[in-house]
Amino acid sequence: MIGFWIAAAVALVATALAVTRRHPVHALLYLVVSLLAVAVLFLLLGAAFAAALEVVIYAGAIMVLFLFVVMLLDVGPPADDSTSGRTAPAAWLGPGLLAAILAGELAWIVRSSSSAHGAAAVDPAAVGRLLFGSWALGVELAGMLLLAALVGAFHLGRREDAQ
């Protein structure tokens, strides 16, 4: 049970810091830590498939998309690493510390194979049977939505003079 509250505290602290940062890249670092903490919560709730999806799609794909757009926008104050060639510790120490807490907790969870009290584990096979059984139409519709978003983003992101 204590593991649950550690992960929850990391998630809340990282999210609170993410939404209050000035620089978008620093905010994204904290948001990645927050998403990883939520993935640990999923693991403790017995939802291993959801935890994997959270890491791969949210913390991986969607945050990288954010990062690319922030780079394209070129907003915010410039990084102050031009003199020393190194990123200032203030930028990465906080997210690094929170991520280290999560890594330690993950090792503890795997070693003791513990799960939270009152949560029933659902294995990935059951989720797959549901998604590609009775919910197959919903999965197809989600695919259509993603295709529409792809076309829309391509159209909106195009430069005016490149027609």
């Binding site: 993410a18 959801a50 926008l73 549901l130």
Partner: protein, 108 residues
């Protein structure tokens, strides 16, 4: 109170933080970031409910939440890029081209 109920409390707090970001921050990138936080909190609520009853539907709904989040962020970020190109700013308060001017001719 079992872990799923406590996870709902955490989801509520995360949702509130995301809503705060949308309402308070005056930067379109942070607005989208707040929407992501809120979608993630709703996903946590779905998974907590699924864990409470041992039902696979909670994790199934998380997949749809992820699909919606990915689609939203792709289109939203493309719009942010267009706004930055046309207005040279990410402050939503400066996007006033459609605003109605006051009758006196001064800016509304």
């Amino acid at each position: 109170m079992g872990a799923p109920a406590q996870a709902l409390l955490v989801a509520t707090a995360l949702f509130a933080l995301g809503l705060l970001a949308v309402l308070v921050r005056r930067n379109l990138v942070f607005t989208l970031l707040g929407i992501e936080v809120m979608l993630n909190a709703s996903g946590l609520a779905f998974v907590a409910a699924g864990a409470r009853w041992g039902d696979a539907a909670g994790q199934g709904m998380l997949l749809f939440v992820l699909a919606v989040a990915a689609a939203e962020v792709a289109v939203g970020l493309a719009l942010v890029l267009q706004v930055a190109r046309r207005f040279g700013s990410l402050d939503p308060d400066r996007l006033t081209d459609l605003a109605e001017r006051a009758p006196g001719g001064s800016d509304a």
